[in-house]
Subunit: 458 residues, 3 copies
């Protein structure tokens, strides 16, 4: 067995915590193939290739009919990484044997997968096959967080609406309903946010999260200015552009303060412009402007030295900045490979840069960003193959490391750091074959990024 | 034979349509080695290495003397990709055996090549050896398009002058001569452009094209504003900066409207600054500012959903944006590898990204951008070698594809999509060994990017 | 032996001139391991991983104690390229046998290295083992340049303070002390700078150098404006933002004029923001904004055609611009791989691009940027391994070059061009096994980049 195959095999044995997804904990697994093919990656690519939006977003469309309408377009995207995920899911979960999903074989696939998915234990089967110990969620700020297992499906407080849509009456009403506090000034905003953070942390939330447009520059805003702007919003006076900037900065900053008080990581997902292509399919309308720099977060990173900022960037041209900022700022933690950068060519480049220049204890290799559980498997598989290749080329071949040592490093970024950054799962996962989890930081400091609990140093 | 060699061999057998060149249809092939070495890639690199501009731009310089003055500088650029094209041309077309062109062997090469090039059939020989079925041109808007075979040399309406030099009296006089319309307001401009588009489409034009500076942001301009600005231009009043922006946007938008009406693709070549180095050699003065984003084209892409925009970007830092915008917008089509990005290291990265994330039916692999026919061969050869390597690594090795299937994908991006985007050549090329051309889109939609005519799905 | 191993072996035999370092000529080599581990690359990475700044910047800290405090953090950065340099230094210079420096083995290493370093000949031993013929320095503008061998440690006039801190009284007093000229207008500034340049060139200085922030745009400033601004500075009137821009541009431009008069190369290091992370360790506070373009230097490059500008860029996203500008402008010379771009993944990409598209005579492969002599060895070793790989893949394999020819090219960028750009060392180095140094430019021009002295063409 080659070193790469050996390393890959070890990486494949590591059980996973998926630190960022959009899983609905009340319906985590797919119910039909339409849940899988309805993922925006497929609908938007098929639409880009020529499928009209109306055809798949028709009101009351039957799931099988929807899949039937997508199938003829699949051949146009067979080359894509996204298609390779689809194929791998069908092969692993649904015993699909062919190398292409076509108009001739899709119905059999649909029916066979439907049989499997209707099992009550389908969710457990998927978790088991995928080796998933925990799945982090993306929860609306007013999510009740009831009636699901928050040890398995870990809440995460998503705050885009609070920062970017606070002017909307709907947002403020949702906030008021969730907290029994009506925001009319800085203090009431702090109280309302405090109430949300209480609720979330009491329900095992492990992170606050937000996606940010390329032109966002967080800065502190005085209480006096915030009072004035929040008062205007409360009584329905339209804000001008400068006031809107102040409002957003103030709410954002107040969230960071909450994270600091509660030692909650604040996940930043930097660089998305919403609704760029307004004729696009559901969730297939967003793009970006690569002219963004982490220098825009300079004040934030300096102001909150005790807040961990697991940071994702949308443009591959931000990859080196993320590495450099993580190399200098203790509180900046590279986090996965996001969205348009989540294809092999960009993952490989970023993976190499992070492993070459960011401390191994403060980088999180991957998250799936999935909407349905089945996607963790092929997405992490893609990442593990790239990671195995990079570990082999840059560490075993170039630096003479043993494969065991390379696997230790792989374990760190794939699993160990998820625990050290966000906290371990309630029940410890079965110990891996390697001792990779044994890395510890010295006792004489209080590192912002604490290593695993095992006190043994390697 | 390795998979890569097998794939390359199949790719080398594919006959070509070159969808963007600067060929002069009245003198398509070189007449002396000076036509080849006079290509700005060589003169500018030699100048960069120290050759003074005067030496090669001297009035009335004899071709052989010009070559003789360039030869001593060739060793300084032996490492460049551009030099490797030169060597490959000399080896394939002129039976050159050495691995370097030097002061000792150049005269024999000059004389031998001169003998070959003076043959009446030299043009046909080059087309034949290069496997070229069609060559797209870059025509001035007032080009008569007469006296050449527009089925072989396909016209393309180049519009830089109209958009960026409309204030120049010379441009307006050329427009007036070509159309018999004097532009004095929005309506007359539309009429004049309509007349140009009539002329071009009647002469087999397959695209409108333009190169654009990094700071250009196309936006719609009202007829009222356009009338006012065009009136000022017509009567010779100097425009202020804001008016100039309006003028350019209006003309550009009017071109897009013509493309929409006539279903003509609009080639965008984004990102060049002209005359940055004013002391540079002919055509060797342009550079760029990488701070450009496709977000600047957001309104355009939304406003013209039925216009195909084959898009080239000058900076490699725009490569991922082009992939992402093509993944989301049905009308954005990645188009070749332009100019400063046309070297292996950047082609390889972009080629991988496009094949991993853009539908295979809407990407055009390569064009030569050549001024003389001999250049298609080495430039496409460079691309085919990179394509073969990427297909082997990312598809055969990583995804388990057969070499046949990899070649089908290669055929698509190298040839098939040129036809589906711009239209097929009049006589169908001899069928290739593969069935790659058989990809079709489903009948129940009207995709903006239509696939080939063969209704069989693979 | 594989082609790559053969090429690497030849590259390793080449003696070096290191064209940019921060060596202190009065204490060039390390005295204890604290000098090595105190390099900001280690302190900032350990701090990033959690080590508090106070622990290692404590007043009067004993060197061994300092090392002892860093050691427990080393395991967090074992993955980094920087750690691999450390290990290679310990292995080559201090007979260290282990693959990790740990809490159990560091004291023995400390003591063994201390024994070696206390030898009077340690400096010579390091130079000898490292194959270093010359080491270029970074000197303050008021450096006396006395009492060291300027043939071995070549002075370089660093000018950041003059351009960016001229408003500080301290800077002006230092200038006045160094030159006996009090600057109060444009003319006295020119005189003062002239005096500095006299002093430096009389002491074998080979370059003027400066690091520049991303928003710097050099432009000429009229003498009248400069007189006004310099007068204000002289009498202590605070400048407004526009005046500060003028001041900086004027001083910068005046430096370029001095370089032009004296034919001294002007090293530009483009893109650093200082003190971004104010809580960072010494020298570990600087980052950058990738939104910078070489178009900002358009006027400069045009205005000084006779000044060579060896140019470094901080962001990898500037790598292609540097290649393109060097391809067009005779006076732009890509120079090494700077700081955050000095890790294998970015070096490899930039190395490939430069070798594929910049004349071989005008690119300088590498400099160490070191503070202590021991670092040249592992840093150049890293570069040589990458260079060997690129030469093998892109030239031997892709273009059919012989290994000898590949080594010639490697010699050019590693050593030959340092001499042709900055001037040869006083005593010719022992001839290498290859004839690579034999490249010459033709006699009939005065190239800005003169090739080596050997008149033989290859």
């Amino acid at each position: 067995m080659s070193a790469e195959a050996e390393i890959l095999s070890e990486l494949e044995a590591i059980r996973l915590i998926d630190p960022h997804t959009h899983i609905n904990p009340y319906a985590p697994a797919s119910r039909t193939l339409a849940d899988i093919l309805g993922y925006h990656y497929y609908t938007e690519l098929a639409h880009s290739a020529g499928l009209s939006r109306d055809r798949i977003e028709q009101e009351g469309l039957d799931p099988k009919e929807k899949v039937g309408r997508l199938i003829p377009w699949l051949h146009t995207i067979e080359n894509t990484a996204q298609y390779s995920w689809l194929l791998e899911m069908c092969q692993v979960f649904f015993d699909f044997d062919d190398s292409r999903i076509t108009e001739s074989n899709w119905e059999a696939l649909y029916d066979a997968s439907f049989e499997k998915m209707k099992s009550d234990s389908w969710e457990s089967i998927v978790l088991d096959i995928s080796g998933l110990d925990q799945v982090y969620l993306t929860n609306d700020f007013d999510d009740a967080l009831t009636d699901f297992d928050t040890q398995r499906y870990v809440p995460c407080l998503r705050t885009d609406d609070l920062v970017f849509h606070f002017e909307k009456e709907e947002t403020r009403e949702r906030l008021s309903s969730a907290t029994d506090i009506t925001v009319k000034d800085a203090e009431s905003l702090h109280n309302a946010l405090g109430s949300l953070f209480d609720h979330f942390t009491q329900n095992n939330a492990r992170a606050c999260a937000i996606s940010l447009p390329p032109d966002f520059i967080p800065t502190p805003v005085s209480t006096r200015r915030a009072d004035s702007v929040l008062h205007k919003v409360a009584i329905g006076i339209h804000l001008d552009a400068a006031e809107r900037v102040e409002l957003r900065s103030f709410v954002f900053w107040a969230l960071a303060e909450q994270c600091s008080e509660r030692q909650l990581p604040f996940n930043l997902m930097i660089g998305v412009n919403r609704r760029v292509y307004e004729g696009g399919v559901f969730q297939g309308q967003d793009l970006y402007d690569k002219r963004v720099s982490l220098i825009q977060y300079r004040q934030l990173f300096n102001a909150f030295p005790k807040v961990k900022f697991p940071t994702s960037v949308l443009s591959e041209t931000s990859g080196q900045e993320l590495v450099s900022y993580a190399w200098i700022f203790p509180n900046v933690i590279p986090h996965g490979h996001w969205w348009y950068s989540n294809i092999p060519v960009f993952i490989e480049q970023d993976c190499r840069a992070r492993l070459q220049a960011v401390p191994q204890t403060k980088q999180i290799g991957y998250y799936s960003d999935m909407y349905k559980l089945e996607f963790a498997l092929p997405k992490f598989a893609m990442y593990r193959r790239i990671l195995a290749r990079v570990l082999t080329a840059d560490f075993v071949e170039d630096r003479g490391w043993s494969t065991e040592r390379a696997v230790e490093l792989g374990y760190r970024v794939l699993r160990g750091n998820v625990e050290s950054v966000f906290g371990p799962p309630p029940k410890q996962a079965a110990p891996s074959k390697t001792d990779a989890n044994a890395l510890a930081t010295p006792a004489d400091d209080s590192p912002i990024v604490s290593a695993s609990e095992d006190p043994t140093t390697t």
